[in-house]
Symmetry: D3
Subunit: 321 residues, 6 copies
């Protein structure tokens, strides 16, 4: 059980904890003495560490991407806390809980999954309901949905982020469809449920969130069409037009060619799905952006959105409200 | 009182009605006989008319943009209904109701305005409430809001279209803010109310919807900042930061430089306002698009959105639902 | 059997032949007499026709998109040949050969298909060979490939155009791979074979080449991934990495996001496939462009490529060379 | 009175001077001894400083953005001059002249302002002259114009840079209007005077040039329309069309949507103003660019313009010419 | 000598004049009688003409792009003046003055050329002066410069338009260089003189302004580098750096890749030349744009600039000022 | 003769070799002792070096861009090999072989040049053959072609890279023209030969590959048109149309305005040349990209192409295949 997190370590503190080795470099002082510089990671963030004694010996025992137990003392170096390591040793991956080393959603995955299922079971179209149930019955898919991240960096970049985003989007859809007549609520809910489901194959997240080769070469849009296409084929009498409309929601949900949608949204539901998906992602991303510097009303610069954001009150006050 | 509308005229029908002259051309047959070709307009659409007898005489009595009374008979020419005119004469603008000659919202302006006021009076922030009330107290502005169109062509291009869109957006905002914590509901409602208010100066719509010179040279974003800036100056103790945030909602609501926003949305509320404004406009525009040809599942091509839209059922069935 | 083609009809000629009705409009002369204006189509092009006598009667017997037998006489009107119709009557689609009414490749489909199979059977990788053979064994797919067009307008817009382009591309690939080491010839051939196979579902071409609803909403890239994915699943032990590489060729072959590829080419083979596919299409399109006016060295403007092309000798001389 | 500037400090020199603290970091040597790294700023540029003795003590007495008096000795470190600090202590902002700590125009603000007023008082249109005079009478505005910078980085990024650019532009306008008939000289002069006046609110420049919150969220275009709109309202009988034309010059002067103009220049004067404004800014920016390396004919890369510039003679020779 | 111009022909007028045949179409009436429709052109504009009698006979005697003498009578048809032709016959090109059939500059070419030479002979750099003189000595080039148009459509699209624009630009350069130190006046004048000189080969303008094949395939930028390169080679001791700077002005003067400059302006002079060239062209183009409709303050839409322009007074009043 | 290369130096190795000084910085330790940091370069890559003893003395003897002989010992510092210098002294450029200090093609220049000449002498068009021979007869040009690099970074960035690319392209052209009728093989070969010939003036490569001033200000497209234009002028009776077509191949071969082509490809041959040139460059660039990290299937990110590439097997295995 991990009890000490990188973000909590303070100047002068004694350190004894588990970390993921994100980088490992050998150095030599001017006097010819070897040392090690490490970057250690857990779900709270990163911390640098230096091994000055027996560096060569200890360095042989572990590598980048290994989990290690580190003992030493924290000190301030160039304004940042750093660990001066006395001892560092590899620990087996089976001895640690992966979720300790990756950020995760603040919400409970099981509760989110249940809420999602309740919403989707309100679908009245029998074909679409059958499609949804065939996904619920696919344990591997459901397990993956429980923990997959929403992204590598842009929005919901943490474990269960995909589920958190999907649920929030479904709830948003439920509200918005009440404002307009003539929108196919069931179709839109299915689109909301499946629009990012391919992300369970697009990302690997056992040690750090990264793209899989398939994710990089095919992308979640195409992969989820494959998955959904096979599920639909297995449902008797699924109307071809409805199948086409469901797949259209998937391939068009990025809303524009330059964001990787091979087709623009061409149904009312596809236009709405793209718009609400984009909005939900942006709201979460903006709320989670750290401020530029403590007390500032401005966040750090968000590269994908090309701007910083202004908040009426700095982020740390949010808790009080 | 106008009783006969262009869209209702059928082959062989006797015609006696009031129209706006949208175009007037003189022609000469091969035998040297002069005639007139007219384009006549009312809120239902356009119809062509020809004057074969006494064309010169009758042509002297009216001009483009005049209202006229037309008598004659309808016939089919190249697959379209056309009026063969026996008599055409100018009528004074005071004798006709302008709204008969421009399309208008299907909803009642008075009822919409009342609903809008009820929503906005739920604002709790006293400064923002004062701003809203100072707009309500501005009769000229309220009268203009009652009838102004939402656009020339893109979305809500009819009388009271601005009010219809504003109200729909406010109701959408009310629903969406319930899905997220930390969004300033009052600020967002004020943004929704004022984001297009400059359109009352951007368009002229006494005979046809068109841009005013000011609308073309300054645009509604800048004009509404001027209006709101002056109203805010007249309210005692309006907090400068709040004034800045309201104005930011206005200048950024088109969401991108290429759509004429001089600043990108840089607050959470500005991001949401742009997104919902865009979505509400698109939903209305798509729903109102005529189909490509009778019975087709595809609409005509929407130039601004660069595509046609597919509907599960062709548009004429909507009435049954 | 169709013997008379629109493009061959000359001034004053007596006409008796079969055509597809591409447009049908009713008109009324100034004297109140009804007539019909028709646009008639076959694979050689279009011709206009007018019915002046018994127009109402004859017009009842057929509609747009019907096949008709037309009798009458040709005359010149405003510099163009037109048919003055004496008689026009609907004929059943079963009585005509659809290929008479659509342009088709100058090459023989059967011969092309055989050449294509010979090339593809030279593949040595057993998994890829199995994939190719499973496509050959799919009669419906092969039949569709025999006649499908390559496009609606851009390049190879005629029956068997897809096959013609696919074969030409495969032959080009065979030559180009000899110039470079380290290119996976088998993979590239499979990519060349399958890169546009989804077009058999993207277009309808029973009467005129047009997009299907699926083609418009999903596109051939996505549809062919579905097809290929299912064929691969049915082959025992198909290596997952190889499957991924095949699909990557399909999803990236348009080469850029703005041309509807959700992923950029990210393997050497994907880069080559995109480049040669694009080149082969352009060469055919440029060679088939008509000149701007008879004798000109410039072709008409090609909208998709945004330019006219210059030829050393005008196109009609090509035959002599 | 500041006598020693960062750019003039040489290796081994004894240092005693006032600086602005641009950065302050705590460090710890391998032996556990704390030290301070400072970045010190004045209008001539930046210099790094290290406090090795009594670092903790001295560090408590000042913070980032404070003015300090620094005593010590210069030395070379990695090819750059650095200060080894013996003593550093905060001094009150009232004791220093802010302009010593920011770069400023080489020209005299008072002289420039007088020249600007002479030019503008040559305006013959009484309404425009009244507008200009009402600005001259606004002491706060004139004081701000005297010292405001022209930009944060792109061009004229120093105190009085706005005034320098405005004056240079007015003089350029005077010359250019002589080359063309039919240009409204008075309108163009007013546009030149006011086109950037909103920058006095867009930037803060008491310690370093930075965007204000208002500058970031509204921008100088919109802010100056507000200012000018209120001044015009206060002038009796200002013609509405003329007001519209003045404001159009302001909102369109960036010349393109992507540069933050909500409207394109749509009058002859607006086209000219944008062109000359852009040209004057570019000329100054290019002339002030440092060369890539001493003696090079190429300047450093200008990020906003996306290129380096070539000079016939390297920049340091300019003085001789 | 041409005395009657298309733009001056009024309803019912007897016509006898020379025109260029811009289009010639054969038609047949419903009664089987052949007629001709002609489009006739001269420098004042276009007029339509119909030949009803002996059409076949007369049509044999001339073709498109021939000069013809036309006799007949004007009448109004669909609101436009048209000529009903009694007689039309080809006249030899040697019998007409080409400049009667193309629009030309309002200024005198000889006077403009002299003024241009006076300006350029003020150059003090002996190498640049030699280059300028070698151009003056090239009679063919000077003759072409005397009459070449400035463009096909964008700006200065009339005979001697190139000279008019070049002279205006040189005068503008003379004024602007006075506003800035450190600008190489001589280099800039040479750039202004030669920047469009390749247009004498880019356009043909014996009957209508059109691109030559070379103009279309190489463009005036590249062609003028060839010309200037050869002239420079023939001047003894022309400094290579100076040659490079002159050519750089030519290749970069369109200012951006998308406007066909293979290099961006990378010297101060190149930046200024591009800016002033662009401005001078725009000013002339805007001033010459016709208004949208008589009396309107708005011009017609300018496709290349993507907008209409607003004028304080409609264009026809300009003469009075 | 250089025997020791930077890339081969290992930890602890004794060093004695010749290098190019790419950077030279003076530093001072906290104890006030001066030292030197050097960046040393040869064709295998870069290595860092430190001079701790007699740094000031030794530093006087050489400068950046000098060739030096370096003696010392290698050690590891922060994971990288570094040289601790005992002695460093300038050596005259005449004593070293420049090609030891720049990467070069793996193929033999003389053999490549011969193969290229054989291919080009197969041209049958006598005018084009004369053009090719006049280039072969230009010794300076041929010598430059023998060693010029293909680029600074994008593709073929090494000595003789231009020749390697040109030859590969010619061989590719020979294969591709066999696949299509109606392509002018001779014209295309000449285009392939000359399309980049201007690069011999665009780059300097005596010490490192860099742009010349002319290369930066004019570019190879324009420079090679100058060269070819003069060679053509010297050939009697070279047909003007053919000259135009050759030059068009040069100016359009980058294929798009944004890549610096002032004209788009507008002949069949120009379209093919651009496509194959682009493809050949990309294939070489992708094959030479190093992998992201040892053993990875992904290459490093290629900035110009905006992506990483996936390889079935990591690059180091290529040799075995």
């Amino acid at each position: 059980m991990k009890t000490l997190y990188a973000a909590d370590i303070r100047d002068s503190q004694l350190v004894d904890g588990f970390f993921l080795v994100a980088a490992k470099h050998h150095g030599v002082t001017k006097n010819g003495i070897g040392y090690l510089t490490l970057k250690l990671l857990d779900r709270s963030g990163e911390i640098e560490a230096r091994v000055w004694e027996r560096a060569e010996d200890m360095g042989r025992g572990f590598d980048r991407n290994d989990f290690v137990r580190v003992r030493g003392q924290a000190l301030l170096y160039q304004g940042k806390v750093q660990i001066r390591v006395q001892d560092v040793a590899r620990v087996d991956a089976s001895k640690v809980a992966p979720e300790d080393f990756l950020p995760k959603s603040a919400a409970d995955p099981a509760a989110m999954l249940e809420e999602l299922q309740v919403i989707l079971r309100s679908i009245r179209n029998p074909h679409l309901l059958a499609l949804v149930e065939s996904c619920f019955a696919d344990e591997e898919l459901m397990n993956a949905l429980r923990s997959a991240p929403g992204a590598k960096t842009i929005h919901h970049p943490y474990l269960s982020g995909l589920l958190e985003h999907t649920l929030s989007l479904l709830k948003l859809i439920l509200r918005v469809v009440e404002n307009y007549e003539g929108v196919d609520r069931d179709l839109l809910l299915v689109g909301g449920f499946l629009h990012d489901i391919g992300k369970v194959y697009e990302f690997s997240y056992d040690r750090a969130i990264d793209y899989t080769d398939e994710g990089q070469l095919l992308g979640h849009l195409v992969m989820e069409v494959e998955v959904v296409s096979k599920k639909i084929d297995a449902i008797a009498d699924f109307p071809p037009e409805l199948a086409m409309l469901v797949k259209h929601l998937l391939v068009s949900h990025h809303g524009a060619y330059e964001f990787g949608s091979p087709k623009l949204p061409q149904t009312l539901e596809a236009v709405i799905l793209h718009s609400l998906d984009d909005l939900d992602g942006k709201i979460q991303a903006i709320k989670n952006l750290p401020e530029k510097e403590p007390g500032s009303k401005w966040t750090v610069f968000h590269r994908a959105y090309g701007r910083s954001f202004y908040r009426q009150k700095p982020a740390q006050d949010d808790g009080d409200a």
